[in-house]
Amino acid sequence: MGEKMKITKTCLSAIISGVLIFSPMAYADKWSDQFPHIKATGDIPGDCSYEEMSKKNYKGKTLKINTHAVPVIGQPTALHAEQFAKLTGAKVDVTHTPAGDLYAKAMVPFKAGQAPYDIVFGFSNFINDWRQYLAPVPKKYMNSTEMKDVTKSHVGVSSWDGTMYQYPVDGDRHYLKYRKDVIDNPEMQKKYKADTGKTLRVPTTWKEYGEMAKYFNGWDWDGDGEKEYGSAEVMKKDDLMFAAFFSRSVAYAKNPRTPGGFFFDLETMKPNINNPGFVEALGDWVEATKYVPPGGINFGLGDEIGSFGGGQTLFSFSWDDAFIAAMQDDSPIKNKVGAAPLPGADKVWNRVSGKWENQYNQAPYIVWGWAVGVAKKSKVQEMAFDYLCFFSNGANHQADLAIGNFGVNPFKNSDFDPQLYINTMGWDADIANSYTKTLNDMEKSKNRVFPLRVRGVFEFTSAVATGTSKALAGQLSPQEALDEVAKEWEAIVNRVGKKNVQEDYAVGVKMEDNKL
């Protein structure tokens, strides 16, 4: 009897433990009762947990935040501001600003020596222009449990030459998203083989990507009564298209055997942007205008997310958002998509020898993402850092990750555990595995490209957007377009000062060459 009781007790404890681990409701604690946003996990212990924040008293103090418009990053900012105010007694004023104005809205008062906002949101590639006006992240927060979980890449993206100026709240990289129900479908594979003589598989090169996208363009391949298309890409001028172009360029132009600069030759500061590697990538991109949905060359990031996330295209690449949108509960293609590294190329340009190397090359693009800093002139710096630490605490971060339009993507080592997506978001195990493996492999790669973060970065990226959009519109050939960009880059380097750009660029090169 006693033995029987023991077994029953053990079984019961196992069941209860299982329920506690896998059932979202099982995590209910006093904090998730008050803050339903974290109901899936409850409060997660840490230096900036709900429990710890509730011990702070900021009554009578006001925190002013300038963030992006709702929903992307604006919604979590406002939500966590409300929670923070409730926990600490602080008054938090949140201003929402369109993406295109975030830079100027902070920069104009910075230049005038003012700090109308204690916290400013922007993109991580603003770092070099903003850092002189931002307070470095204090040691206390650098040593927090939450910060210790941040990946090395994203510590690097948020820092300048070893000093962190931007508090990590988001992690971004570009990777390939594809329709798993098509690519892994034996009938489709047979059909593709019969029609093209080639194997249908997750594309490993951009040429393969183009061939498949072209084949699956303009017919109803998922039987929903609507036409589907090859690829959804960010091609709209000035709507982050330059980042999409760099994603397509890394395979051809980031050669692991020629360290010393992807965008420029660090020694001479001569732009690489018009070398045959970049030109080949732009040629592919011009070709891509034939397999994007109608109007695809006017797609911004929102259109790309809607198009792939809505099941309109076979492929997409760029930020996480399209993948997360596709995997949300209300998506028509939930659990029908897969993640993979960006396609590579069968050749890579060697800028030192001036020749193509005929060997496979793939390079991850750790692109810039949402970033946030505390104004050096803020009078409530501690409260501001507490808010940011709270924003990205374990419970908030996991809850934010599950919401596609929050714009919060993995940047912590713990985010690469597939169980997180299986248990809390209902993803199929193989999709969660492919997703986390894709992200994890990018972290481990030694051939990564980081965003350009030099003084006046907008001048450089704007020139790329203008040049490449001219090529996409057929106004110029890829070579002519990139020659124009290179000429503009040289002019910008001269204006900013060669030494200044070189000094800034050296920091990025150190990261790319795995020396930082």
């Binding site: 295109g100 709209k236 001028k237 000035d238 109608p294 006017n298 519109a473 204006r495």
Partner: protein, 286 residues
């Protein structure tokens, strides 16, 4: 009697004028002589920005000629359509009041919001326009073909601002004296001759005013381009104001953007003066 105190009464007006007009212009001129951007402050670099603008920036001039084309085309179309509509509701027709209000609605809507709606209409894969046209085997690239994108911008601008022209011209028509029309009727003039020889000449002064006001407004076209095409595809719909916006507020080249703004202001003052004189000569011959 001492009237010196009258200057005291002038002061508030003068203060406002200096604050909102003179100071910004002087500041823009000062800014244009600096290299103010994200890495430089309000330094002094002389005429460097102007030299760059006149010798090394064909994009500005291309955007200027594109702007000239867009503004002249849209204003001419607005004038023709606005005049036709005003002429229509000037006469005693059924539901005259209803039409007068109906024709004004586009002008009462917020331009940015309406442009977002137009962008949705013209969306090439999701928009209703191509959905309907696809039944006839057509799917025009409204926003992604360089020529058609310009036409789309023109359509939206004409839709939005024809009511303004309509309003001014209708006011003009309603204020015309009746005698010339009575005389023309007694002479047995046909409606076409009446329009050519009576209505149109009498409307010339108000037409010139309306065209100039619309040209000034059209030359600042920015929101439509920003929302509809972002200046694309390529640079095919990029106008001067949009280009200045990119340089100033996107790339934060404030000094250079100021030099472009000031140059643009001078060009507009000169060209609009000539246009006004030309129109006056052309339409007010007698």
């Amino acid at each position: 009697m001492n009237f010196k105190h009258k200057y005291v009464f002038l002061f508030p007006g003068l203060f406002v004028l200096i604050g909102i007009l003179i100071f910004p212009i002087i500041f823009v001129v000062r800014l244009s002589l600096s290299g103010w951007n994200s890495y430089n402050g309000l330094n002094f670099i002389g005429l460097e920005n102007y030299i760059r603008l006149f010798t090394d920036d064909p994009r500005f001039w291309q955007s200027f000629f594109r702007l000239s084309f867009l503004s002249v085309t849209t204003v001419v179309l607005q004038y023709v359509i606005g005049f036709a509509l005003a002429h229509m509701v000037w006469k005693d027709i059924k539901f005259q009041r209803f039409f007068r209000v109906l024709f004004l609605i586009p002008m009462m809507t917020t331009p940015v919001i309406m442009t977002v709606i137009w962008r949705t209409f013209f969306h090439e894969s999701l928009g209703p326009v191509n959905d309907i046209l696809s039944n006839f085997g057509m799917s025009p690239k409204w926003l992604t073909d360089p020529t058609l994108a310009k036409i789309t911008v023109i359509i939206v601008e004409v839709w939005q601002w024809t009511p303004f022209m309509f309003l001014l011209l209708l006011a003009g028509l309603l204020s015309l004296p009746k005698e010339p029309f009575l005389a023309a009727a007694i002479d047995g003039a046909s409606p076409v001759r009446k329009f050519i020889y009576v209505t149109f000449p009498l409307m010339a002064p108000i037409s010139i005013g309306a065209i100039i006001i619309r040209l000034i407004e059209a030359s600042k076209i920015m929101d439509t381009v920003y929302v509809l095409t972002s200046g694309g595809p390529g640079t095919s719909t990029e106008t001067s104001s949009f280009y200045i916006f990119i340089k100033g507020l996107r790339e934060f080249q404030m000094g250079y953007a100021a030099s472009m703004s000031f140059t643009y202001l001078i060009i507009m003052i000169i060209s609009l003066t000539f246009i006004a004189k030309g129109l006056t000569k052309l339409l007010l011959k007698d």
